[in-house]
């Protein structure tokens, strides 16, 4: 069976004052129907750009897809017209964002904001869309949905607003949901609830999820496959458990070792917190024919500075773009 979404050799360029930089450089991956795949990496590594690229929402005049294809259900989205992309957005592919506090329009009721997408894509009438909005609020576990449907965003907490965003995103039972750090702005207890909700609803509707996150715990719990992004390139890809058990890229290894652990006993010696030393190179460095992680890597050799590493495959479709993948 052909994958639902197949991204091939995608290159997204941003025009900055210093010139054109590839924020996504030769990225390929695929997503099967109903599957959950997770993108991890530090800020500025191109996770959100990938999402916006798929949605056709790259910042106007600044970002554009330079080459590559995004095949969705047999259709190349990079060549689709604006009108066609609008039909797809919110209907077949939808997205929730990092900032629930500001992602809802303050001057319309949440009911209207949910109903709007139903009227737009499903052709529902006013009444039917309103009723469906109440059902959706119930589905995202907002208590007393009949009363809350006419609330305004400022009357809700951050977690509730993110639930409303999920209701909007899932209103048309999309084939793909892109969740861009959906819980970063929420407190920990709410984070778990939001992830539960996403997983349950995703399974029920058969929606494939692209989860962008910093949270390794969430990745382990939610996703089947993991893609590690670094400086606009795919560093590593593979089944979540296998990658966490045995990362094949020094960057992945570093990220995993950064996750702090709770100790079983209070007396046990606590390991010091670790970090991946150094920072992501500036956007001007992107696109160089070398390993961009080299400056932060313990395994660095001359080879790393002379050419961009090729992908090396391991069992179960684990891939790593590192010259020293075998040694990691």
């Amino acid at each position: 069976m052909a994958p639902l979404l197949q991204v091939e050799n995608l290159r997204i360029e941003l025009t900055t004052r210093d010139g054109v930089a590839p924020v996504i450089d030769d990225l390929s991956f695929s997503l099967n129907a109903g599957e959950t795949i997770s993108f991890v990496g530090e800020s500025g590594c191109g996770k959100s750009m990938t999402a916006l690229g798929i949605m056709g929402l790259l910042p106007e005049k600044i970002g554009h897809i330079a080459s590559g294809t995004i095949n969705f259900d047999g259709e190349d989205l990079t060549k689709a017209s604006d009108v066609r992309l609008r039909e797809i957005r919110g209907n077949d592919i939808s997205m929730i964002f990092q900032e629930p506090m500001t992602s809802l329009n303050p001057v319309y009721t949440i009911g209207e904001q949910i109903a709007e997408v139903l009227r737009r894509h499903q052709g529902l009438g006013k009444r039917a869309a309103h009723d469906k909005a109440i059902d959706l609020l119930d589905a995202v576990r907002i208590p007393n949905p009949k009363a809350r449907v006419s609330d305004y965003p400022h009357q809700m907490s951050g977690g509730q607003r993110q639930r409303v965003m999920i209701a909007i995103a899932l209103a048309c039972e999309p084939k793909i949901l892109i969740a861009d750090e959906p819980t970063t702005a929420l407190d920990v207890t709410v984070q778990a609830q939001i992830f539960d909700l996403l997983r349950d609803l995703g399974e029920k509707m058969g929606t494939a999820i692209i989860l962008i996150t910093h949270d390794m715990g969430a990745v382990a719990e939610m996703a089947e496959r993991l893609i590690v992004m670094y400086a606009g390139r795919k560093a590593e890809e593979g089944p979540v458990e296998q990658v966490i058990d045995h990362p094949r890229h020094p960057y992945t290894k570093g990220l995993i070792s950064c996750v702090p652990h709770l100790m079983g006993t209070l007396t046990a010696e606590r390991p010091t917190l670790t970090e991946v030393r150094g920072i992501v190179p500036s956007i001007r460095q992107f696109g160089r024919d070398a390993c961009l992680f080299a400056s932060r890597c313990d395994l660095v050799s001359d080879k790393c500075l002379e050419g961009r590493p090729h992908e090396i495959g391991f069992e179960n479709d684990q891939h790593s773009a590192c010259w020293h993948a075998e040694d990691v």
């Binding site: 957005r89 919110g90 900032e99 303050p106 001057v107 305004y152 400022h154 909007i168």
Partner: protein, 321 residues
């Protein structure tokens, strides 16, 4: 409850305005008695005394003030000796003409200002956007009376499209619509003149707030929903960007009224502005006070209406009330 409180504050504010106006005019040198005596061609000290006691001017200041406020609270603004009519009657006769001018100008400035603002926000680097900026700068810096005279020369003298002055042509006969059309023709130039400053202000502000709103997170959400550009701008962005414009429009209401005085004078528009000018020249204190009070009243009512409008636009304002 909150609204009632606002109304109460408004009444207190109006009384404060009354006290201030009355005191300031009292401080000015000369009094009504002098002016009346002058218009009679001079009078001796005895007659002056007589006039003073007739008008209650021999009473202490506080008593006069108290009496005036008491009368105003009973909707009596005094008697104009110059026009020999109650001031209230005078003002009510002139008010409709001024309100017609002011409200039409304000409405035109708002509607066109918002349209221009939205347009130039969507094409921030286009030629027409620069034109809007230039036009706004011109409208804002040119004095209204000068704009008015220029328009008169251009569209009444050189190209006689519109009448030169007045509100209605006395020779026009016919039904309501014929007369309304005639008034509309007379209104064009004064309204355009008066709205030019405010148009400039509103379009600049609307452009700025629209551009800010278009960059906000909920606009990205609207895009992710697959809405069209039109729906995004007109539904999601416009309502949010209106709040500052409406607030400014409310604040500018007093400026519109003072602008009306100038515009009415240029175009001989038979409104409160013309009356104000004439009564100032005639030193007709009761009429001046009456007009000042009415202007304050209009500004206060305008501000109340602005509050109500903001509540309608932004639910967060309602929430705090």
């Amino acid at each position: 409850m909150k609204i009632l409180q606002r109304v109460l504050y408004a009444i207190l504010l109006l009384i404060a305005v009354l006290v201030l106006n009355f005191s300031m005019l009292h401080l000015a040198p000369g009094d009504i008695a002098d002016t009346i005596a002058q218009s009679m061609g001079g009078a001796d000290a005895e007659i002056l005394e007589q006039i003073r006691s007739d008008y209650g001017l021999d009473q202490p200041f506080l008593v006069q003030l108290g009496q005036y406020i008491w009368k105003v609270l009973h909707f009596d603004l005094g008697h104009s000796f110059f026009y020999n009519q109650p001031v209230t009657t005078l003002i009510i006769a002139k008010l409709p003409a001024t309100l017609l001018l002011v409200l039409t100008a304000q409405l035109l400035a708002l509607v066109v200002g918002v349209l221009l603002g939205v347009y130039s926000a969507r094409h921030p680097n286009g030629l027409s956007s620069h034109f809007v900026t230039l036009f706004a700068l011109f409208g804002y810096s040119a004095p209204v009376f000068w704009t008015g005279i220029l328009l008169l020369i251009a569209f009444s003298l050189k190209i006689p499209l519109f009448p030169v002055a007045g509100m209605i042509d006395v020779t026009v006969e016919g039904g309501f619509f014929v007369r309304a059309l005639d008034i509309a023709k007379h209104m064009v130039l004064p309204v355009v003149t008066l709205s030019s400053i405010f148009l400039a202000l509103y379009s600049r502000l609307c452009r700025a707030s629209m551009m800010e709103v278009l960059g906000s997170d909920y606009i990205r959400t609207a895009k992710a929903k697959g809405l069209s550009e039109r729906e995004i701008v007109l539904k999601h962005a416009l309502k949010n960007s209106l709040s500052p414009v409406v607030t400014l429009a409310g604040l500018q209401f007093s400026a519109v009224i003072s602008g009306a005085v100038l515009v009415e004078t240029v175009f001989s528009w038979p409104g409160l502005g013309t009356l104000a000018l004439q009564s100032i020249i005639a030193r007709d204190t009761p009429t001046i006070l009456g007009i000042l009070f009415f202007s304050a009243l209009v500004v206060v009512v305008g501000n109340l209406l602005t509050d109500l409008a903001l509540r309608t636009i932004d639910p967060r304002v309602r929430g705090k009330a």
